[in-house]
Symmetry: C4
Subunit: 320 residues, 4 copies
């Protein structure tokens, strides 16, 4: 009535796993968000892991990053300005000593001149305490700008591929059968090389133990291309052996089907690896369509029109 | 009475080797420490290899690193301050020349203003010797802060995975047999990709030539997962073919059994490789347990509770 | 009259694809330019992808990069100088206040002293507004030079292989058949390791559906060499099984034949990967030639004469 | 009388190639120098490839690098000092204007204060020309120190493995046959992972066309170890199938035999790849010896004595 130990083990080994276990999903909880991030929130991370300052500062939007730097600069100068003010402005040579507020601002500007090491010298520190604070601030300033250098280099040199995906996957006639297709193109001038695709289908399945989530690797016409100079239409041929054979828009909705794409490649500017993820939910499938061509030769060069990546013609599917 | 040459060679070739040779171990000397470092001390390293300054400064705890920088800054300024003082404070324009101690501190602060290149100019060098020392110190300062920039970038950009391991490995019922399992999860927000596991079992074996240490690769249900968005329970199915079949807590203690785990993956923030090691001694095995789930869907997302990584339920093992 | 579904899929799968699709080319539009760049122009890129500032600044010629820096430095000082001038030169302590033009230039030089943080202090800011602008400029200057540090490091550390290719590929007698050969050498002192070659032939083919572009992988005598200390002649043996068997200079011209070479290797200075592309058009083939040797032992070392990379002797081809 | 085309091609394909072609060597010209560098000099490199400034500055000895920096600093200040002096010291405010030599040195020190951006302000530029030169020098200084930062980071972060090789390879009894062995150990504290060895034997062979150099891959007991925590003795078992079977010290000398070792591994501090080469000439073989153990357990840890890497005991070889 049941198979032998070894065959159960073998069956389990042959299963695909995306790291989500076999808990069934509901329509609301897709595995991978449209931006390629996994739809997972972590509880009880350590403070260090949660804050992860470097990671955040590297990935933050440029505008946010710029504002943060300015605020930090103001904050540090306010703190040090207040310290100099608290010690006494008479310990700052060259300060005008008019009234409290104006003295504070002169201390603030002295702080900025120390932090950036511009040190005009119009105002200079006197006394052990103020001199010590100024010596500490100048070193602190240099460390801050050392860190800034690292952060800016990290931000610039971080692999930042601009890989465009067609917003929908399409079911399209392919040779004398049909195929599941999506299209990618590199928006940037750099070349992507050794481009490798992983295409995974995930659905709920109901068996005697209840509903579980299963994962299937979809084989593609090509799993690797040497270069991606133009656009690449990735095709899973829906042969009779395909797990998708016989599926319909309704059946995929019912099993909460999701298609997860993972692309690996090498960026040839710095020859660093890039990895991009994308997910198509059953509702992001276009049944019966064909991609329009994006590439045409113009005079002595090829022209790739990126704006056409989502353009399709309606097509009748093959029946087989 | 003995096998042919070739077969002895083939047999030797098929053996696993972790790089510790075949010396038998004692209970006190585990191969890999709980923190993943190999339990090896090296004698007679060259000075350069032993000191390995960059390696240490990169891996040092942040607090220790910060204190070191401050002490170094004080030390350098004391040295240069002493040099200026020895040359004569009359060669420092603008110094008050009150008494010896106060003069020394003014030389010290002048040094700090030169090293950081803040150079207020309230005090400035005069004479060839003092001017030369100041010129050297300013250059030295810039080089120091160049090195600091590199060190800080190295520290920040160093792969620093926060991979959590369950503190014990468990022997757990698995399908209709039993399995040796441990669990890993990525504590950080970044994604780990192409996660690959190597699972090695090491034990003392006694044959006619005496007691030797042998190493066996344990095959796992999956040796690679494409992503690690949640937690991954690595399973070695204890089939009848497994080297662990029939072993007990007592037999593993007797042969000084140790399980060594090596994880390789790609971190997707900078797409750099990460490698993590972990070792479970026979005494860190939990016989007859099952991991509680860490993941549950909440509304439209998955929630992974990292604090549950060590939580198990007691379970009766399968007999076969 | 036609093959089964599966076999059509299999046939399609076995085809090489370089990412240009199957559009036939014309003689004017080669796929890969002589410098190894793909002959593709992209339309409708996003502004960010199109500008791609970091990528451009990293790849720009050193001379252009230097001029850009100087212009930027002048521009920033003109802007800040104008701001100080607009606020009023009486807010710059120590300025001579002679006439308008001379005042402007003093403001300009004050700006340069602030931006570089040299801050002599002969001129120093007074008043809230001028002090604030100076505080902002000093910080801006440090950020600019932080970015500069990253750019310069990026430029220096960017893989910049100097791989020489013979300017023509040759058809040469090879053993008792003929071979298609080209030659590569590393012009630099560093070593290239694990050198791997991909050799692709592309041509127009006319079938019942019209003229399409097809791609064929050409197998080579060796696809990998462990090192490239001298020169490597890559050979595609034109056996009777080769797609090139029976082709002539005329037939290759007629089908617009192009040979695309892609080299991967590891540079051992920083152990970073390098990738180089090269294309030989049918018109860059030399029929009936043999490369002269570039290497000869001189005393106790080998001498490689790079200037001989294109030198050939005429040779009669084998007939078979 | 001769084989078919295809089999000649196949035979050629199966040959190992180290990139030196088939020119026979003489005893004086070993392929790989004892330090692992190939024994090749390149003629007619382009100036850019030949100078290769970044590569040299990165690999240069620390002492040489330090002296170069100091000389460069002196040189730049002499040049700029001379420019200021030529323009006229009256354009340097605060200069004492005593005599020519002392004025020149004050200009020199002013230059150093500008280049390092310390800018005390005791001396400050006046007039358009001097102010412009100072503005240019301050920017130049920042660029120099930006480049310095990159160089220092490049020097520190460059993979710099300290892999020790036994100075001789030994022919040693191995099981019931003999083996060719050498030994490697990592002198540093960091771990090497995925250590892979390539072992190549090269010799002159005389056939009907004359004497040619041939290369043979030697298979090893293990070609990869997961870690290198201690020492690894790499063994080529000299089975009857081995190319070395029957060779003697005399026969290897006659054919100018050379053994080339290439090691690849991953360094776990920065998880960067390392590659190391080593060559053993026939004269660096020790016939009939056995490596003494370097590793012994002491209390609860393993102790590896690196000074023993070359220690051997004499051993009689097996006859078979």
């Amino acid at each position: 009535m049941r198979s032998s130990k070894e065959s159960l083990v073998e069956k389990e080994k042959s299963r695909e796993d995306l790291g989500f276990g076999t808990k069934a999903t509901s329509e609301q909880a897709r595995l991978v968000n449209p931006d390629g991030q996994f739809n997972v929130r972590k509880l009880n991370q350590s403070f260090e892991a949660k804050s992860n300052i470097y990671h955040r500062l590297i990935r933050m939007h440029w505008l946010k990053f710029g504002i943060l730097i300015i605020l930090f600069y103001l904050f540090v100068n306010l703190i040090f300005g207040a310290i100099y003010y608290a010690i006494g402005v008479e310990k700052l040579h060259g300060i005008s000593q008019e009234d409290g507020l104006s003295d504070f601002w002169e201390a603030f500007f002295f702080s900025s001149q120390t932090l950036t090491t511009v040190g005009y010298g119009k105002i200079s520190p006197a006394g052990y305490l103020t001199s010590s604070v100024a010596a500490a601030e100048a070193m602190f300033g240099l460390i801050i700008f050392s860190i800034m250098t690292g952060l800016l280099y990290g931000r610039f040199s971080r692999p930042n591929p601009k890989l465009m995906f067609s917003s929908s996957a399409i079911i399209s006639p392919y040779l004398d059968i049909n195929g599941l297709m999506f299209r990618i193109a590199n928006e940037k001038h750099n070349q992507l090389m050794n481009v490798k695709v992983n295409f995974i289908f995930s659905r709920n399945e109901t068996n005697e133990q209840g509903t579980v989530r299963r994962y299937y690797s979809l084989d593609t016409e090509r799993s690797t291309v040497l270069f991606l100079p133009t656009a690449w239409t990735v095709v899973h041929p829906i042969t009779k052996e395909s797990i998708l054979y016989g599926e319909t828009a309704e059946s995929l909705k019912k099993c909460d089907g999701e298609f997860i794409v993972s692309i690996e490649a090498i960026n040839d500017t710095m020859t660093d690896p890039v990895h991009v993820r994308k997910s198509y939910l059953y509702s992001e499938l276009n049944w019966g369509a064909k991609f329009k061509t994006m590439l045409k030769p113009v005079n002595s060069e090829y022209v790739l029109d990126l704006s056409k990546i989502n353009e399709v013609d309606d097509m009748e599917l093959n029946v087989y």
